[in-house]
């Protein structure tokens, strides 16, 4: 993951400041350790990483860890709200679509899920902006003109700013999850034990809940966990539309500013989050499926 370390044009960009004398350049290079070879830089980076130091941002000279922490803390609640929405409604509609297969209800749900799944994320965001201008705040994370707000007002303010970005993310994911849950449920509903349960005279809802959904949860959990790792990365589009100061925005700004330490930090975080959610999915397996006991 750290191949990104080859800094390329980092220095040239830094010193593109007008009136930069060769001395300033050299001083800057030395300050950021860019006068050393790439190999040396890499070793230093790894050493520092082991100590939990992600380096200093080229752009604003703040420690990358601090920059990143603020960004992550901004992104997480927004993403969590959207994902929660998507998981709850996606599972619900997915189950219903699979259960009522071949009915108008199914084609309705599947069509709407596909439609949301097909929309470009940022475009859906813009549509929501058009629809809700004047009703909900459409940009930023909080109202900057609030003077010394109480904790509760601030909370309400941030929450109202959060609704639209979360909804955008939630709707796109909702489409995806509905489709995932539906196909997983369809597969389980074709199993013989469903037929057995049916033959025993169990009520359909009980079969769906206890027999089908329980077994369908395994593939669902994997796919959802996999997608969770990418949400943070995907939030970049939503964050651009709504000027939300999160991780995605940070990556984007860091690219434009050639802020390599910041980029490395952000990538490290994104990759670790993907791996972490994979691990989480594997651990969830034990919980969901008592047959797995290794």
């Amino acid at each position: 993951m750290l191949f990104r370390l080859a800094p390329g044009s980092a220095v040239s960009n830094l010193s593109r400041v007008p009136h930069a004398t060769p001395e300033t350049r050299a001083a800057l290079k030395e300050q950021f350790g860019l006068d050393k070879s790439r190999g040396e830089q890499y070793v230093i980076y790894l050493k520092q990483l082991a100590h939990g130091n992600l380096g200093i941002s080229f752009a604003n000279s703040q420690p990358v860890r601090e920059n990143l922490r603020t960004a992550i803390l901004n992104t997480l609640p927004m993403v969590a709200l959207g994902t929660l929405f998507a998981i709850i409604f996606g599972t619900l509609t997915g189950v219903i679509a699979a259960w009522r297969r071949g009915t108008a209800l199914e084609s309705g749900t599947v069509t709407s899920a596909l439609a949301f799944y097909s929309m470009p994320t940022h475009w859906l965001g813009l549509m929501l902006v058009i629809l809700f201008t004047g009703i909900l705040p459409t940009g930023g994370m909080s109202d900057e003109f609030l003077i010394d707000p109480s904790w509760w007002t601030h909370f309400k303010d941030v929450l109202s700013h959060m609704i639209l970005p979360s909804l955008t993310l939630g709707l796109v994911l909702f489409g995806e999850y509905t489709l995932i849950v539906r196909s997983a449920m369809l597969e389980t509903l074709g199993e013989d034990y469903i037929l057995t349960a049916r033959a025993k005279g169990l009520r359909p809802w009980a079969i769906v809940r206890k027999h089908a959904l329980r077994n369908a949860l395994l593939p669902i959990a994997t796919l959802v966990a996999l997608s969770l790792g990418y949400i943070v990365a995907g939030a970049i589009l939503v964050e651009t539309v709504f000027s939300w100061p999160g991780v995605g925005r940070a990556v984007y700004d860091a690219v434009l500013a050639r802020d390599y330490p910041m980029l490395q930090g952000a990538f490290l975080f994104l990759t670790v989050s993907v791996v972490f959610f994979n691990l989480l999915a594997d651990l969830l397996y034990f919980k969901l499926d008592p047959r797995i006991t290794e």
Partner: protein, 318 residues
């Protein structure tokens, strides 16, 4: 044992080819969603192909005021430069489709090859190739695309390559799994016993068997590639000299189409992208469903259950 020696591939040759083409055609005919998708995709491609002839105005021709509202002469209004939206959309569609198809081709070539080779040879080759795939799989692709596009500089070719080299992982894994099962089938073993080389077995015997899956995957990848192009363009990393649908959305967003109330500059391009992705998803999904016999029976779906209380009309499916 008879002494008749024939070319290993010669006998099985015409069969897979016919069934492959037939499979797609059958799916499109029998599944309404696939038919709708194919129709939609066909219309979109036709529009894009015919743009130079049927576009009502010139691509760089200013025909009215900036953000002119829809009128009889301009059914979708004008953009920020006073260019007719219908014209713009047709030309944008071309670029978006080129990026989508070309990037998909790149990713299919890589993913298909990796999947075939890893699945067929197995063992150490499989191990190494799959580790590489895993490595690419954990990289969050949108941020990496942004980084690469920003560093290489915005050009159509770079965007195609970037999207292509990041999308192949899924294909590689799906194909590999399928190849692993095909490899063990009797006719492949027979071909090997008859002395067919690896290259011949892969191309003549394995590839035709995984081809439908590869095609289903290709169609789904086109949708992702088109989406990625739109995303990159929206972040200002698209080719500035080429107008794609993503570029049209970005332009409208940057030039404050929303605060000017010019919804016509921003809604249609998005709808078009959504339709394009939708048509590809419909086709790809139906092909995949058709390939998965387990989906054919559902013991508890409301209608099927009412109509046929036991297994299914199609006994072969069980």
């Amino acid at each position: 044992m008879s002494v008749v020696v024939h070319e290993p591939g010669a006998v099985s040759d015409p069969l897979p080819v016919r069934s492959r083409g037939g499979f797609i055609w059958r799916t499109i005919r029998h599944r309404p969603s696939a038919a709708i998708g194919a129709l939609l995709l066909g219309l979109i491609i036709l529009c894009a192909l015919l743009a130079p002839w049927i576009a009502p105005y010139g691509l760089h021709e200013q025909v009215g005021p900036p953000f002119g509202p829809p009128s009889r002469a301009h059914p979708l209004g004008l953009d920020d430069g006073g260019i007719d939206m219908v014209t713009l959309l047709m030309w944008g569609l071309r670029i978006s489709l080129i990026v989508g198809f070309a990037a998909t081709l790149v990713s299919m070539l890589i993913g298909g090859t990796v999947g075939l080779v890893a699945g067929y040879f197995g063992g150490k080759t499989d191990g190494i190739l799959m580790r590489i795939t895993d490595y690419f799989l954990v990289i969050p692709d949108v941020p990496l695309m942004i980084v690469v596009a920003a560093i290489w500089g915005p050009s159509l070719f770079h965007i195609i390559i970037v999207i292509g080299i990041l999308l192949w992982t899924g294909t590689a894994r799906v194909i590999r799994a399928q190849v692993k099962s095909v490899r063990e089938r009797v006719y492949v073993k027979r071909a090997r016993a008859l002395g067919a080389g690896h290259g011949r077995i892969i191309l003549r015997h394995v590839l035709p068997q995984v081809a439908p899956l590869l095609i289903a995957n290709t169609v789904l990848t086109i949708a992702v590639a088109v989406f990625d192009e739109t995303a990159l363009a929206f972040l200002g990393l698209g080719d500035p000299s080429r107008i794609s649908l993503g570029k049209v959305i970005e332009n409208a967003f940057q030039r404050a189409a929303i605060s000017s109330g010019a919804w016509w500059a921003i809604v249609p391009p998005g709808v078009l992208v959504a339709l394009l992705i939708l048509s590809c998803s419909l086709i790809g999904q139906s092909l995949e469903d058709a390939l998965n016999p387990r989906l054919r029976v559902a013991h508890l779906s409301a209608r099927t259950f009412r109509l046929r209380p036991l297994v299914g009309r199609d006994k072969a499916a069980v």
